[in-house]
Structure formats: structure tokens, C-alpha cells
Amino acid sequence: MSKEVLQELSKLLPAGRLLTAAAALSPYQSDALTAFKAKPLAVALPESAGEVIETVRWCAKHQIPFVARGSGTSLSGGSLPIDGGLVIGLNRLNRILKLDPKERVAVVEPGVVNLDVSKAAAPFGLYYAPDPSSQPVSTIGGNLAFNSGGAHCLKYGMTSNHVLGAKVVLPTGEVVELGGESLENTGPDWLGLFVGSEGLMGVALEIKLRLLPKPEKYHTVLAAYDSLEKAGSAVAMVVASGLLPGAMEIMDSLAIEAAEAAVQAGYPQDAKALLIVELEGETLEVEAEARHLSEVIEASRAYKVQIARNEAERAKIWKGRKAAFSAVGRLSPDYIVQDGVVPRSKLGQALSEIEKLSLRYGLRVANVFHAGDGNLHPLILYDGRVPGELERGEELAGEILKLCVALGGSITGEHGVGMEKKRYLPAMFAEADIELMRKIRQSVDPHELSNRGKMFPGGEAEALVRQGLHPLEKRGVISRE
């Protein structure tokens, strides 16, 4: 790359907002999957949509690959830089452009942090529903690119179900409007295709979000079981009863032990499994449903049941759950978190297979998961300093993904394919399926500039180096789900 080319970019961005010095680039060389590192050419820090557009046009003109970056909390290498490519850091585009409580719409820049949308909407009794546990730091742009989920996705869906429209700069530098402010649409759902495309089709500049009225009442139940199977069948029983909880989460004994040690959530220490079920909605309805739920939980042979009597007790129950991952991380120097999905009825089978794999590989696996939608989050504990453990952990993680596919599920429920799982995409899709997705990508981005090398199998196979806590997790700012 010639000096003049970069100089051209520095004319678009004032000094201090185009980083090129090695020391300034180093914080950008990984995302939350710290095992992968790459050295970008430079980091651009635009402050307006116009600057992003100019930056992308510069990339298009000189055919320089780029990665949009929000807060860099991707767990799959999604925001890992491209060697010699440009990182477009979007954190400074963090304005809420419009909040219309009457029509329940917020229009935000991509660098707005997820939780800040709910904070801004709170005075109007509204909130933004998708709640990844990274929500105190992850951005709406990153959430959109990964169609992020959270504990409360069973009833109201993932990010894609809450994005109404987006203004996007395509990898060619053209700007398009996808969707609008209506919940409805005529013609193909282009916005639906863009959301979840992992940054491969351009950069979102402005995003219209749907806000929901805050539920009037929560009813949160914590049930303890003497086996994981019983907790699993309790989930099936709740489902069969016709109730539709806002969240259903399970933790196994290793996760309980760790969470309890970390945040003293008051969980029963002898439990083999804990189930959290939360009903939400109109007070009168939730109260009626709660009586119904009590009967179901009783019949599920829980040996101990605790019901949150107030907001403080509810927060305590969730605190243990939300802290579980970083807490498990403390039991071990390193861990790998996986994100496979299985049909709900196969949860029991999946868990016992995972246990067998854990014994076979000689590595402990803790389980904390979104039981309501079959989204597992097995945590594989290993010590990177012990030769061979990382490779064993990685292999075990791959076995779990294949197991999820074999049981009729998916390799990822919410963390995305990114860099980490691209070689497992063929376990889920046939060649023709992947080929067509690739054709769409190439048609939109002929030079594969936007997040080159991600999602699709092939290219340089990178080896994991080390897994550990995200720096923000170490500081206790965020925790994993």
C-alpha cells in the first residue's frame, strides 16, 4: 500500500481519528475471542454517518478490506481485523437520533450501547427487548450484525424481530434504506437478509428500533432438582402446560457452585440443577399464570422452590445466572464457550452426551443455558499452559457442535459463525446452500471487502491460541450467558 493512499484517508479524518501506530492499533487486534489476533493496516474512528460513507468509499476505491467494529465483544471472531485491512470503529457514532414514545420507535446510530436505548426509553415506560448479557457494552450495530439474543428471547424473539429499518452503506459505497418504521412491508424482506449477515454486506449507519412497553409484572421462580434430567423435563412440562414464559434457564451443579461462590445468589448448594422460570406481562394475567405454574413445578418434583417476592429477590436470582459464566471462568485459567442449539426434547440427550465427551476428553464442562429455546452454552474448562489441553478443548468443542447438528439443531444460536465456527458451517448446510449464500455475498460485495474471510469456510485455518476472560469480564462489567 502506498503512502499516498493512506494519506487520502487521513484527509477525510482529522488527526487522532486515524490510528496507524502499532501501539494504537494493538487494542483492536482481537475481539472477545482473544485466541485470534490480526494486525490491521489502520483504525478509522469516524464520528458521523458521512465520514463512515467516505471511509467505505475509500476502501471501495482502493479495494481495501474493512471490518466494522462496535465494542468488539463478539465471541466468534466476528470483529477480528483483517490482516492489512481497515478497522472502522463505530463507538463514536453513539447518538440516539430520535425517540418517539408515541409510535414506540427509536432511531439510533450504530455505536449506541444496547442498554442505553432502554435507559432512554425508561421514562416513557418503554424498553428495548433483546437483552444479550453483554448489553452494558455491546452496540446496536454489533447486535444487528449478529442478530444477538439473550435470556428473554423465547417470547419476543431476537434482535431481528426488533429492528424495523436500517440505513446502510454497501461495500461499493452506495447508501440504501432497508425497511422503514412500519412493522409491515411489501416486497422481499431485504432488511431481514441484512440483519444477522455478520458484517459481510456493509455497515449499518442508522437503525430504527421497535420499543415495547415494560411488562407490568414479573413472576420469577427458582426450582432446585436432584438431577439435570428432572430440570429438563420440567421445561417440557411447562411448555406442555400451555404457558409461555419470558425466560427459562438452567444451570448445572458446576455452574451453581461457581456462581454461588462468586455472587452469593442464595442458590441451594446441593442442587444438581437449577431452573429459573420467569413469567412476565399484565399483572392480572401473570398472577393467574403463576398459580398454574406452581402446579406444574410441584409436579416436576423440584425439591426446593423459591419465588421472588420483590424486585430485589428477582435481581438476586438473575445475578447468579448472569454471573455464572465469568464465575465458572474462575474455576479454570481458560475456557471455551459454545453456543449450539438442540430441539428442546433432545436437551436431556445432549447433556448426557456432553457429559460423556467431557469424561472422554478429560476436561470439565459446565452448563448454563437458555433451556426454553434449546440454546446450550457449554463451557469447556482447560488450562492453556498444559500442553495439549487447548487442542483437546477445541476438539471437544467441535464434537459438541456436530452433536447439536446431528440432533437436528444448529451450530450457533446467537454468537454467530464469525471466524471461529466457519469450518463447521458445512456440518449444517449442504454445498449448494453455502454456494448460494456466497453468490449473494459476491453479488453485493464483488471484491469481498466487507469483513473478508468470515463466516464462509475456507481461507487460512487459524489455530486457537488461548481463551480467557474478556478484559471487561475481568473487571466485572459484563458477564456471559
Binding site: 408515541k102 415506560g125 446502510v168 411489501t186 394475567e285 428442546r344 444448529s410 449473494i440 453479488s443
Partner: protein, 359 residues
């Protein structure tokens, strides 16, 4: 010419052999599947449920499966299609519903067809059979092709198999119909309700100035919840319950109120309603307001239209709106503002390079 293609290989063959094709299954949205000079692929034979496990909240069926069959299967397990697709009694199929992108009144509670589609198998413009999405309620792998197919009008491929998420049906429902003095008052109440903690299955605006509100949930809480709704509105209304209530909504979702006139879907937001209503009243051949129905707190309009298509096209453009003709004989079913963009054009080219499904 009509070719009957009841199997997937036959569809693939037809796509490879024919220069231009248009799909038809139930034929309930005639404006979208009527003859236009190209070869019609009749896929109504591609019908049947492939998998349904109530405990998973998921089913998979061939695209030509009638909605009625699905609804019956689900109701036996106490479940339903939360996006509440219209025209079931007219023979609408799953594939036609997805291709036209149609949802009904109850889409207000949990979302539209785009929010419940999980997986898709289709034949692309080169005759390849491809799959996107999955058969589990949560999945983030690969591009979201299932969502893309919603509203694709057969232009991006021939849908052959679809997977959906479903939910438990409310144990009981009841409906309150309230009349207001003026349109603005009704809309104001509509917006207030939409932003409140009161959860409704349907929130319909019935021009000129009425609301139809459907509550659902456990039987034992409904009485008190309806009283609360009543006092929230500070107004009396007509209460519909039981069989009568079910028939009312069924009638609405089969467009009986359109009186057999040409039918159009319009996507909009509540703030556009007043302007649109005024423009329609001043059109050259205004129909009574009972031939229009706004669902989902004013985000979705179905309306009858008896005037010229050019006039409606211009009228919608003036209001900054886009519409889709479902029944009638327009030159093109897409009306109003043109939202074509290079992203759509390029993705279309990838799916259908030879323009076999172009209209």
C-alpha cells in the same frame, strides 16, 4: 400454459427448462398468481406436513399445504399460528402466505410471518434446491434466507418447504368493540393502548372511528382484565364472546368485509392514517370506510379499491406509502412509492441470474 409440478424434482426441471415462470398454489391472492403470459407452475400438489412436534413449538410442511390443514393440526395440540395469516377459508397455502408476506390481526401480539418463519427450502433461478435457516426455534447460522423469502412474491425462487415457530394458543379470548366520535380520538386511544402494559392479541382500527380489541389468556383472569380495559378507555362498547367472537375475527381475516372488490395491502405507521383516510375519501370513487381495516395498531391496512389503479398508485405515492394488490387486475401488483435499491437488485441477481421469475 400451466404446468402441474407436484414434486421437487419436477419443479427443478421446469425451472431449468422454462424461460419465465410464475408460481401458484391456492390461488387465493389472484393478483399475484394470475396468468401474465409466462408459464404458471401449479405447486398446489406439493402439500403435506413433514414434521410437527408440539413440544418444540415447531413444524415443517411442504409449501403448498393449505393453512386450514395447519390450523387444524395445531389446534388439536392447543397451539396456533401467531401471525394469524389471512384467507385460510379461501384456500390460502403456507407458501403463498410467505411469498405474499401476509399476516393478520393477531400479528399484533407476537409478530408477523417474518417473525415466525424459521427455515426454508426453495428452488432458485438456476434450478438448484437450497436450504436456509433451520428447524429449531433459535438459529444464527448463515444468512437469514427464510426472512428474505417473506414478501418475495415468487421472484427469488420457488418455495418448496417451510419451517415455522408456533406458540400455545390463548386459553380464552374476548373482544371489545368501541366507537369514538372522531377519527383522531380513536387513533389517540389506539396509540395510548399500544404503549400501555395492557396486552392485546389484536388492536384494530376500524374507520371511521372505531377500535376492535381482542384480549386473550387464562379464562379466569379475563373478566377482570376486560373491566380494566373498559376503564382504561373510559368508554362502553360491544362485548363479543365465544363462538360469535371467533366468527367475527374469522370473517375479518377472510376479507368478507371487502364485498368481493379488488383488495390491497398497505404497510404504514399510525401517523399516516389520518392523511390516507382523507385522501381516500376525496378519491374519484370513494368506497365506504367499512371496506378498510387497519390491524396492528395501524401498521397494516387491508383495503378494498374500486377505482383506477393509476389513481391509487398516485394516491399512495403522495402519502409516501407502498401497497400490494392481492386481488384485482393491475398492471403490476406493486403500487405506491418505489423502494428498489442496489442491494435488492444485486441479491436478486444472485438468486435468479436469468430473470426467470422476473415480473
Amino acid at each position: 400454459m400451466v404446468i402441474k409440478t407436484p414434486t421437487i424434482p419436477e419443479i427443478q426441471e421446469a425451472v431449468k427448462a422454462q424461460p419465465r415462470l410464475l408460481c401458484r398454489a391456492g390461488g387465493s391472492k389472484q393478483a399475484l398468481s394470475g396468468a401474465d403470459g409466462s408459464v404458471t407452475l401449479d405447486v398446489s400438489g406439493l402439500s403435506g406436513v413433514l414434521e410437527y412436534q408440539a413440544g418444540e413449538f415447531v413444524f415443517t410442511a411442504l409449501a403448498g399445504t393449505p393453512l386450514l390443514e395447519i390450523e387444524k393440526m395445531l389446534s388439536e395440540k392447543g397451539q396456533y399460528l401467531p401471525f394469524d395469516p389471512p384467507l385460510a377459508d379461501a384456500g390460502a397455502t403456507l407458501g403463498g402466505t410467505v411469498a405474499a408476506g401476509l399476516s393478520g390481526p393477531m400479528r399484533w401480539r407476537y409478530g408477523g410471518v417474518r417473525d415466525f418463519i424459521l427455515g426454508v427450502k426453495f428452488v432458485d433461478g438456476e434450478g438448484s434446491l437450497v436450504r436456509g435457516g433451520g428447524r429449531v426455534v433459535k438459529n444464527a447460522a448463515g444468512f437469514d434466507l427464510p426472512k428474505l423469502m417473506v414478501g418475495s412474491l415468487g421472484r427469488l425462487g420457488v418455495l418448496v418447504e417451510l419451517s415455522f415457530k408456533v406458540f400455545p394458543a390463548p386459553q380464552a379470548t374476548r373482544t371489545l368493540r368501541v366507537a369514538f366520535g372522531r377519527l383522531e380520538e380513536a387513533l389517540e386511544a389506539c396509540l395510548r393502548l399500544a404503549a400501555s402494559a395492557i396486552e392485546l392479541y389484536a388492536l384494530d382500527f376500524e374507520p371511521p372511528a372505531g377500535l376492535a380489541l381482542r384480549l386473550g389468556g387464562l379464562e379466569k383472569a379475563l373478566e377482570e382484565r376486560s373491566r380494566r380495559l373498559w376503564s382504561f378507555l373510559g368508554k362502553d362498547g360491544e362485548l363479543l364472546e365465544g363462538e360469535r367472537e371467533a366468527r367475527y375475527w374469522r370473517g375479518i381475516n377472510n376479507f368478507g368485509w371487502a364485498g368481493g372488490k379488488p383488495l390491497v395491502k398497505v404497510a404504514l405507521t399510525p401517523k399516516k392514517i389520518a392523511g390516507l383516510e382523507a385522501a381516500l375519501l376525496h378519491s374519484s370513487n370513494p368506497l365506504p370506510s367499512s371496506t378498510r381495516r387497519y390491524h396492528a395498531a395501524g401498521h397494516l391496512l387491508y383495503m378494498a379499491w374500486d377505482g383506477s389503479w393509476t389513481e391509487l398508485d398516485t394516491l399512495l405515492k403522495t402519502q409516501g406509502l407502498a401497497g400490494l394488490v392481492l386481488a384485482g387486475n393491475p398492471l403490476s401488483p406493486a403500487l405506491g412509492i418505489n423502494s428498489a435499491h442496489p442491494f435488492g437488485e444485486r441479491a436478486t441477481r444472485a438468486l435468479d441470474p436469468q430473470g426467470k421469475f422476473a415480473r
